[in-house]
Symmetry: C2
Subunit: 450 residues, 2 copies
């Protein structure tokens, strides 16, 4: 019997983050300002500390992790690497299925990996207040926790549909001392503009980002903090994949394919990018980003310059996008409901180095229930997307007899998502496929960049 | 900097449970039948498999853990031992505070430790159906998970007040395939009798036990499963303390005092009993059971023979009790709302070998919030009782300058208890102290045993 869980001692927590830019065949496309010209780091200084801006544009392969951040990591890291023996048996597959369990963090997801880093760098330059947005609440919980650990007040704009569906996520953030505001709100220009057009707006990540950015840009004591998409956020998440590589070494395995659910991209990048280094060096390993068919950014969006938020307050970024004013359906993919995607992940998909697939909602819940009933852990709905893809691949291995090694990030537990599971069991969810004309209409409104 | 988390490899998961009876100065008092005479093991055979009955009466010090149970343990065990550096700093105490994190299990508490053992032994003898009760839902979740892992159908009678306050606990049990019934229910004689007297009955653990026992006793295909109180349940939980002893050895520390919250007693016993072996051998170590002032079984109950359930279906057990028809107030101490207590824990308290203290509700939530804001993990309300006691002791150390080593079991996370935290923050909770006359009246109704 091979191991069920592979652990690392806290001395083995990585001391450096891995920057994928160093190994990409082409440099990342620069973000553009309102004039369509590349912006410099100074344009971001109003809302980010310089250390994070430097990471955003760095081409260094390795970035040291400050000791206070590693000290915070030690509260829950290193996370275990699990072999899914019982899932394999239930599927009757020759595949070896592994998962990294990031739900072990106090916030129940991978998000604190970057939250504590961002809180640390902001605290270092004397910032006492952070504004941010959250979709399903995973990111808001993480930054609430991190703010508490580094003595920073946190204000979270929470997408209204999640605010209503997940009151306990709000309570969790409040227990860690954060202030939570349903978005769109009346406290910002961006929020008021949306509410005038649609007083019943369910909100979106794009709107919530506009509100949080506006608050940070208009107050000298306040910085902004983002839970995904940006290069420095993806960088911090690489602790996941770096630990996993060491764990695989310990047991003498190496994944053939790595899966992560993908909304803004930080979860996927966190688990996959450290393996990209090997891929760039010639190793055969597939990296697969999995998104919902209801918000199919990578698989059906345009690769184009677009804003990161709805109001157009952010720089323009080259990425796969459904259009910055796209409002996704009220599905339960939570954090995967984002119109755009990480520019780094987008570029690697565009260059054929990362695969992207989309899976429908009902099949993801079915996968999550199968997983819970075999492995015990009840996954977050976002994570179920990766599990669906892994199960499909494992069933393919059953057909072909190939003992492929499949690895995914179990990015969060679903203990705050039971209402969605309830709806699934009551048959109240369905498979929403975004109509072609809706995508086309939204893409027509993409900003023109010369 | 000393370690933050001390881990054990899965090969270090204990291979034997520790039976405290072997080291108790006096043999446990026997359970009595309806006739007031000691009952033999055969009286329990209608609802328990023989392997568990043997463990219930065993005097062997070590009981082997079957390999299929250890295999299930490997899904989440060994659990980490944490040093609470940040809590210590916040309190300014010279005490060393340690906690074992049992919330790391898929069900979010320590309860699966015995659930998987009970499911295994029942499956071994061909039982395909288990009935049980649950208070706050921790036990029900654990046995739902365990039933799923060992192919057993599970029916959970859930105390109505919790059923209503914690719908997501129900969803969790259902995701693992269990059937959940609000108790008192109309499906048993015991339930119907209560509802006739009080159609609005909030239920109690005692009532729910009556219903579950009645169902098991009246169906040949169904056995009963209990989440605390009984000797074999406490036995299975000793994996917690056994792992902790090994973890303390690794870092060269040893606790001066060990704390566990105490309702039925299995959480406290699980963490404390393995250290009782050392205490019996002359080592100085304090074992402290912490209960709520609103349900003060050990601190204000009678040490007397009483039923384990409300309807009087169980054998009579010698224990601290508030009277088997005692219905605790609607506080949020969840699983601590039980009229009785483990006979083993009760006897050790009665003989002065284990200390018992009671703490009021508001102070427990305050302690839980302090813990969440320093250590990150948000504890279950039950666990907050132990944390309160530890913080009080650590503050005493601050006065005296003593660097005592304090250790408690963080028996569960509070992600399903956010409604209670909400109520705390909104000022809707209070400190209920049970009136003396209420205890006296309830104790007058204790069964007479000659």
């Amino acid at each position: 019997m091979t191991a069920t869980r592979v652990l690392l001692d806290e001395s083995e927590i990585p001391t450096q983050w891995y920057n994928v830019v160093a190994d990409m065949p082409n440099p990342p496309a620069p973000p553009l300002g309102p004039d369509g010209k590349p912006i410099g780091p100074e344009a971001l200084a109003a809302i980010f500390p310089m250390a994070l801006i430097e990471q955003e544009v760095s081409r260094e392969r390795w970035i040291p992790i400050p000791e206070p951040v590693r000290s915070a990591y030690r509260l829950w890291r290193a996370t275990p690497l699990h072999r899914a023996h019982r899932l394999e048996q239930a599927l009757g597959t020759p595949a070896h299925i592994y998962y990294k369990y990031e739900g072990a963090s106090p916030a129940g997801s991978h998000k604190p990996n970057t939250a504590v880093a961002q809180a640390y760098y902001n605290a270092q330059v004397g910032i006492r207040r952070l504004s941010t947005e959250t979709g399903a609440g995973q990111w808001g919980s993480a930054i609430a926790l991190a703010g508490q650990l580094f003595g920073i007040e946190v204000r979270v704009y929470m997408v209204r549909v999640s605010y209503e569906q997940k009151p306990f996520r709000r309570s969790l953030m409040e227990t860690w001392g954060a202030r939570v505001i349903a978005s769109p709100s009346r406290s910002t220009n961006a929020g008021r503009a949306i509410l005038e057009r649609d007083p019943e707006s369910p909100g979106s990540l794009g709107i919530a980002i506009s509100e949080a950015v506006e608050e940070a840009a208009s107050r000298a004591d306040t910085n902004y903090s983002l839970g995904s998409v940006l290069n420095h956020v993806l960088l911090h998440q690489t602790v996941i994949g770096l630990e996993a590589k060491r764990q695989f070494e310990k047991i003498g395995e190496y994944p053939d394919a790595i899966f992560g659910c993908c909304g803004g991209g930080s979860n996927f990048a966190g688990v996959a990018f450290p393996f990209f280094a090997d891929k760039a060096a010639g190793k055969k390993v597939r990296l697969v980003a999995v998104e919902p068919t209801s918000c199919p950014t990578l698989t059906r969006g345009n690769y184009a310059y677009d804003f990161g938020d709805t109001a157009g307050l952010t720089p323009l970024m080259l990425m796969y996008t459904l259009g910055h004013d796209f409002i996704p359906s009220r599905i339960h993919a939570g954090g995967l409901r984002y119109h755009g995607d990480s520019p780094l992940v987008s570029q690697l998909v565009h260059e054929g180095l990362v695969e992207a697939i989309a899976v429908p909602q009902l099949a993801t819940f079915e996968a999550g229930v199968t997983f819970a009933r075999t492995e015990g852990i009840l996954p977050a709905p976002e994570t179920n997307h990766a599990i669906r893809a892994v199960i499909d691949e494992a069933l393919e291995c059953k057909q072909t007899g190939e003992p492929r090694v499949l690895f995914f990030n179990l990015s969060g537990h679903g203990h705050f998502d039971m209402a969605a599971y309830d709806q699934y069991f009551r048959g109240e969810l369905d498979d929403y496929e975004l109509p072609e004309q809706e995508i086309a209409a939204s893409l027509e409104r993409l900003p023109k960049t010369g």
